[in-house]
């Protein structure tokens, strides 16, 4: 009797011990924090969409349907992987970062086997929780754009979220830091190449062709990455920086002399903190740069998980007033003419003092001045004095194609802009490069950036290596259809704003809204141009 009892007890105990036994394994977590290391291997697949499902999901929303008209119907399915990798911050700090690996899939021709790779850099986003790989998030419009434009057409897409976003523990974002951001792009490329063979999508492989592109901030990042990779001897098949702030010193001068770009109150704290962390000399205390109204907490304000509209509405940032509407008086000892000229250039726009394109947006620049304001007049004056002493050459009087100032700036912010200006080092591309943008862009000025870079490179590269596309220009050449498509979409949008469905806005109000949306509207058309450009290489 008791033998049986013992047997049952032993069986129970054995079974309970079994509960501690094996179960299936998850991914490996890397112990190395060396930059370029894939932190979680294999990576997590957020979603897998076949071509039909992807098309149906896009067609299910108005914006998706519009995007489909530009991208065309998906030819391939797309697997969306969430890559976690190690990189370094703006001051060389090790940090984990994340991003996307989007892999074309399916039986259709050009969706598996050896495929070209697109390394993409996204535009400025105030949302710290941004995860460009998360196609299930309806606010991830840029992730959907690059998936539909590139991955669904057979390109493997690799795109970082950037340090300071998502899982990154870096307490700031190294915004427009050419060295850090190009390094991070190369790190995610290394990690993605490690990851790809171990994914569900291993039928698709890296075919060896590498294209680099990115929009807005990402345009700068893409160009910096092209420069860094070419400097390392890597072969790049082609590049397409889009609507980026490349000529940083010239662009900074344009803004400080009153051409306040749309979005500047978001860009300013991002760039101030980024360069302070990297170089340590932008200010002694944030109050040197920022007005007392906004200085508290400004270094950790962006990116933020708080919606940007809430940040504006709660008074943490001004909506548009970058500068003080009270014009500072500049005094250059012994030079009354220059003093008067600089004082005039620092006045509120609205006169003929502002010769820089896009002149059509001059009225918009006035909105960059107000009270309360973000940037102190005292800081602005030190910047202007340095610009006068060590002129960039591209502004305030435009002179296309000029190199950086021979004299390195002494004002710390201008020094930082100079360091991250992509004319720095007299570099010019080896690979075919498309520069696309729109010349009415109120956010990243086309002529100051794209125009300056193109003219600067012109004598340095062989003819035909650089292609410049202005989507607002007269349709002509191989991208005429894209120019026409953009201009028709702008006309349709304007008509919508003036229609009952769009609020029956006055022509002036409708035009203002159109201008405010211009920078974002250019993105899919320039991405389409980039894809067309890459397909020929």
């Amino acid at each position: 009797m008791y033998k049986l009892l013992l047997l049952v007890s032993v069986a129970s105990c054995a079974a309970m011990l079994g509960a501690c036994g094996s179960s299936s394994q998850s991914a490996m977590v890397a112990t190395s924090t060396a930059h370029g290391t894939l932190a979680v291997d294999p990576p997590f697949r957020i979603a897998s969409l076949d071509a039909g499902t992807f098309q149906a999901e896009l067609a299910g929303t108005a914006t998706g349907a519009q995007l489909l008209q530009i991208t065309g119907a998906p030819n391939c399915g797309v697997d969306f992987y969430y890559i976690k990798f190690w990189t370094v911050g703006g001051a060389g700090e090790a940090t984990e970062s994340s991003g996307a690996l989007m892999v074309p899939t399916g039986a259709a021709s050009g969706c598996s086997g050896a495929r070209p790779m697109v390394l993409y850099a996204h535009g400025t986003n105030p949302d710290k929780t941004l995860n460009i790989a998360d196609v299930t998030n309806t606010s991830n419009s840029e992730g959907v754009l690059i998936a539909a434009m590139f991955a669904a057409q057979g390109y493997i897409v690799v795109a970082p979220n950037y340090a300071g976003y998502d899982i990154s523990t870096l307490g700031y974002h190294p915004f427009l830091n050419a060295e850090q951001q190009s390094g991070e792009m190369i790190d995610i490329l290394t990690a993605a190449r490690t990851a790809l063979p171990k994914t569900f999508s291993s039928a698709t492989s890296d075919g060896g062709k590498l294209f680099i592109t990115g929009y807005s901030e990402g345009g700068h990042v893409a160009m910096a990455t092209q420069r860094a990779l070419e400097a390392s001897g890597a072969v790049i098949t082609g590049a397409a920086p889009l609507s980026g702030p490349y000529a940083m010193e010239a662009f900074g001068d344009a803004i400080f002399f009153g051409n306040v770009n749309l979005g500047s109150t978001v860009f300013a704290p991002l760039i101030g903190t980024s360069y302070q962390k990297a170089y340590g000399n932008i200010y002694s205390t944030p109050a040197d740069l920022y007005s007392a109204t906004y200085v508290n907490g400004i270094e950790t304000l962006l990116p933020s998980s708080t919606p940007i509209d809430t940040i504006f509405s709660t008074g943490l940032l001004p909506l548009t007033a970058l500068f003080d509407s009270t014009t500072p008086v500049v005094t250059v000892p012994g030079n009354a003419v220059l003093s008067a000229e600089l004082t005039g250039l620092l006045s509120v726009p609205g006169s003929a003092n502002y010769p820089l394109p896009p002149t059509a947006q001059t009225p918009l620049f006035a909105a960059g001045f107000g009270s309360p304001f973000l940037i102190n007049n005292s800081y602005r004056v030190t910047y202007a004095l340095d610009a006068a002493s060590n002129p960039d050459g591209a502004v305030p009087i435009p002179s296309a194609g000029v190199p950086l100032a021979a004299t390195v700036p002494v004002q710390p912010l201008r020094q930082a802009l100079n360091k991250n200006d992509l004319r720095n080092g007299d570099w010019a591309p080896n690979a075919p490069t498309l520069l696309c943008g729109g010349d009415q862009d109120p956010t990243v000025f086309f002529s100051v950036n794209t125009g300056t870079m193109a003219a600067f490179w012109n004598p340095l590269v062989q003819a035909g290596l650089i292609t410049v596309l202005d989507v607002s220009g007269t349709p002509a050449g191989p991208f005429a259809a894209i120019q026409t498509g953009f201009q028709q979409s702008q006309a349709a949008q304007l008509a919508f704003y003036e229609s009952p469905a769009g609020g029956e806005l006055s022509p002036a109000a409708a035009q203002l809204l159109l201008v405010q949306g211009y920078h974002g509207a250019v993105a899919p058309f320039c991405a389409a141009a980039a894809r067309a450009f890459f397909s020929q290489l």
Binding site: L5, G18, S24, S26, R45, S48
Partner: protein
């Protein structure tokens, strides 16, 4: 020590005390029986939708019914009162996706996404009607069930739906159990039994995929039909 561990230990201790301390009844009638049979388990799963990152709304799970061998030891402690320790041979339990037909384009609803084996010792105090010499003797009982899971594996379909190789954990369960059955005297020392049982089995499921964790709480609400033969000694 967690509350759950305390409850588990109390249940096991109670089972041990019942078996070791129960006095034998007077007389020559056998006080013990061993039973062997078949165990059909029918689940009535109620689970919360899976929660965690990247989970579409409505993604839930279900469990396939299982059949397995039944093994029990029963001791008569006083006339009409038995204590039963029941076990089932650990079956391969299949968990299936329930909800959207696909997650993205990955098949989900009805797919076997995970497997596990469980062992569920149950201690029941039973009242047996009629005299011991009766041909038919109905009985009812109530007690405690302990269920633990092992050999937990995400299937290929589960890995595909989850986004990668997935590690699954399921917390053990302690809950009530109740049964009603019928005892048929076949011959000396041999009986046939049929019973229908209910028990409370709940678990917290955690699935970890490349650092991404999804969870749900599952109430299996199993019901079991047992058909067995027993030998008294």
């Amino acid at each position: 020590m967690t509350t759950h561990n305390v409850r588990t230990r109390i249940a096991l201790l109670a089972a041990t005390v019942v078996f070791c301390a129960a006095p034998a009844s007077a007389g020559d009638d056998p006080n013990n029986s061993a039973r062997l049979g078949l165990y059909s388990v029918f689940y009535h799963v109620k689970a919360d939708d899976l929660s965690g990152p990247f989970v579409p709304a409505g993604a839930n799970i279900d469990a396939n019914n299982v059949e397995t061998a039944y093994l029990a030891y029963v001791r008569t402690i006083i006339p009409h009162w038995d204590v039963e320790l029941a076990l089932g041979y650990p079956p391969l339990q299949k968990t299936v996706g329930k909800g959207p037909a696909t997650l993205g384009s990955v098949p989900y609803n009805g797919q076997v996404i995970a497997t596990a084996r469980w062992i569920a010792p149950t201690v029941l105090l039973e009242y047996v009607f009629f005299d011991e010499g009766s041909k038919w003797r109905p009985y009812i009982g109530a007690g405690v069930n302990y269920t633990t899971f092992y050999d937990r594996n995400s299937t290929a379909a589960g890995d595909a739906a989850s986004g990668g190789p997935t590690r699954i954990s399921l917390t053990p369960s302690v809950g009530w159990a109740a049964t009603a059955g019928l005892n048929y005297h076949i011959a000396k020392n041999w009986h046939a039994y049929a019973s229908y049982s209910f028990s409370k089995v709940t678990t917290d499921l955690k699935a970890e995929t490349a650092g991404v964790i999804r969870t749900t709480h599952i109430d299996f609400a199993p019901q079991a039909l047992v058909v067995s033969v027993g030998y008294s000694f």
